[in-house]
Symmetry: C2
Subunit: 396 residues, 2 copies
DNA sequence: CATGTTTGTTAGTACACCGTACGAACAAAC
DNA sequence: GTTTGTTCGTACGGTGTACTAACAAACATG
């Protein structure tokens, strides 16, 4: 299960941002970039010949052969036989990412009651699933539970692992240290919970830890067909968001990008929030509040149904009010919702997009799309896997 | 006045975004990057020896000598004599950007009544200023006025020009085509006003055209000491914004990033806007509306003064309400205001920051800064110059 | 004056990519 | 069955970039 040759880590998550301002550039960096380019092209297209890759990338067939040879030594690319269709000329030997040769562990710490984990293949398909009840564990106990879950999943993998990705609630810096996750009691010491370092030491594998909503946004971009300028809003016990700007995750000046749960919405009051303010987005949208309001409305009678719909529409309006300035400022192309389908997908989403449309400039933002994610419950785990793909292979 | 050797265009504005996903990378790109790195380091530090540059960049003295020789042939770097201080070892020959060897033309089309232009040196200092009354020109007439202004400024330059930068109102794509600027009657044909191409053809110089608020944001980042995650709000006849994210300008999915003037603010109505909606940010903040409201409040008496202050505070609150979700979502470190000082700097700015603080999470965004720009009226022209520096030299 | 330090250059090496050329393997046409 | 043209993948030589090693020049310091 040695993955020693696969620690290249080229673009995206590993480096944080695309180019640090004062960093020299060497020819070998170009090589790494082109390596990733080959992998990325092959990853997207499925199966191509060397000549196809040359045409797609703009590199020459010679260079492609060289890169492919290097990647085949590392077992990242395999030959899959000759092309099926009959064409004039020498038949092409087809190549593909070694999709069965590596697996990824993805872990989702965002639920308030359970830690979820899975073994995934390189396409982000869940192969094996493990859930661990949280049982109120915080601080070091929570850390121990994460390590144990990771080790179980590592043992469950049937082929070498590319790495471990973790989506954690709270504020996570670029080194994978959780700076603040109150629900999990992190950091238990003062400085920050170095989850990435802890897991790397425990497993000996490459590890990437990032915010859960950021991971979800990346999943939607990698596997959900989302556009390159997108916001993913994750509704659960809290409300958070992840942003993809120009195809790249956005982290923010203090790694707190997407923390919109405690932004006040509207100018007409609202409910009191645990944070001390009044009318935070979470007081309108968080699932416990919504569930309670819906339960109070009753069920069965037409009046109750109407009231339930009004509650959901109101929540959607608040979401739209909060998002309108963000959509306007960032010129987003798409907003994706993640969370309980029965709450979000319906009057809430409809009211949200109507409100967004009525509060932004149609000339600029008319073709804005708002939709539910199609990735369901697995979104954070799959995003964690996408983080590993991005960091280890430069594939996004 | 030949500048034929200086068309390299490395990072930042010329490419739009840092790395396009499917673009090969060659060793010569690394060379270009390191060229820019040398210029950038020298630009920021003022004057350094080759050995200093080697230490600062991480490249070897040999490579630095090679790069410096190339840049000296292009007259972008000059030797400024030996180091003053007495130190052991061979005395160092100091280098600097050829600050007097090139100039830049910056043009500001954002004012509703005049086109402003200037010849600037490489540090963004205005050397010569030209203003042209707009006289209601629109469409082709406006274009002709811009071309004439550019030609006047080109003639006024005393040394070779690095290029021409233009900050235009409206939506401008990455090729410098104005897609929509209603006040100037652009585009006059259907497709878009290709201002960058027109000016390049007329002058034979490199030209960069971008949105005025984006240019202003870049000016603040390059010359105003702004942080790397910043929003600049430009208040005038309209309200627009420019965003710097991770040190890079943000353009948005339809090149409309920063267009927040027609985002509805609050949930309690407001004045009718020309766009058809009610309560747009412009109805609270645009200078004609503010001036009218202040004039109606009167002057001199204590009551009038109090009312004037209340009007300004109210505008500031609205700005804070609109910006809170953006600050939260992007985790901005700084918000900078540009526009009439007598309106913005005072109760308005104070109310804005107070509102922002009360509507966001102090844990995340507590040390947010809101301030006036120190660049005054010249901000767009200087931003246009910064665009040229970024596109031609990779300096930002 | 001898010694050590710093600077900038020369010489040689490693690496990455390109252009050209070539053999291999096939389809189509005769 | 042969010829022709096409496509594929590889071999070779060349160019560009940056590195290490070595060195002469110029200076401060003891």
């Amino acid at each position: 299960m040695s993955t020693a040759e696969v620690h290249r880590g080229s673009s995206g998550f590993a480096n944080g941002r695309a180019l640090r301002p004062s960093a020299k550039s060497l020819p070998e960096h170009a090589r790494g970039h082109n390596r990733s380019l080959v992998l990325q092209t092959l990853y997207g297209a499925g199966t191509l010949s060397r000549a196809d890759l040359a045409r797609a990338t703009g590199l020459t067939r010679v260079t492609i052969s060289d890169l492919v040879a290097e990647l085949m030594v590392e077992h990242l690319i395999v030959e899959t036989g000759q092309r099926d269709e009959a064409r004039p000329g020498k038949p092409a030997t087809m190549l593909d990412i070694n999709r069965g040769g590596y697996q990824i562990v993805g872990i989702d710490l965002s639920d308030y009651a359970v830690f979820r984990g899975a073994v995934l293949d390189l396409d982000g398909v869940v192969l094996e699933r493990v859930e661990v009840p949280l049982d109120g564990a915080t601080g070091p106990q929570a850390t121990a539970k994460v390590v144990a879950l990771a080790e179980r999943l590592v043992a469950a993998a049937s082929v070498p692992l590319l790495g471990i990705g973790v989506g954690s609630p709270g504020v996570v810096d670029l080194s994978g240290t959780v700076l603040s996750a109150p629900n999990l009691g992190w950091p238990s010491n003062g400085a920050g919970e170095p989850l990435q370092a802890t897991l790397a030491a425990a497993t000996g594998l490459p590890v990437i830890v990032a915010n859960d909503a950021n991971a979800a946004a990346l999943a939607e971009h990698s596997f959900g067909g989302a556009l390159s300028d997108m916001m993913l809003v994750k509704v659960g016990h809290g409300v958070g968001a992840g942003l993809i700007i120009g195809g790249t995750p956005l982290f923010g000046s203090r790694f707190a990008a997407g923390e919109i749960g405690h932004v006040v919405v509207g100018t007409d009051g609202g409910a009191a929030c645990a944070c001390g303010k009044v009318g935070c987005l979470e007081t309108w949208l968080a699932t416990p509040r919504l569930d309670a309001a819906l339960a109070a409305a009753g069920d069965g009678t037409p009046e109750a149904d109407a009231e339930r719909e009004a509650i959901l529409r109101c929540a959607g309006e608040r979401l739209g009010i909060a998002l309108a300035p963000v959509v306007g400022a960032l010129d987003l192309a798409e907003v994706v919702l993640s969370g309980p389908v029965e709450l979000l997908d319906g009057p809430l989403a409809e009211a949200a997009i109507e409100t967004l449309r009525s509060r932004t400039m149609p000339t600029f933002h008319g073709n804005l799309v708002l939709r539910m994610t199609a990735l369901g419950q697995d979104i954070v785990m799959r995003g964690a896997a996408a983080m590993v793909l991005s960091a280890q292979l430069g594939v996004s």
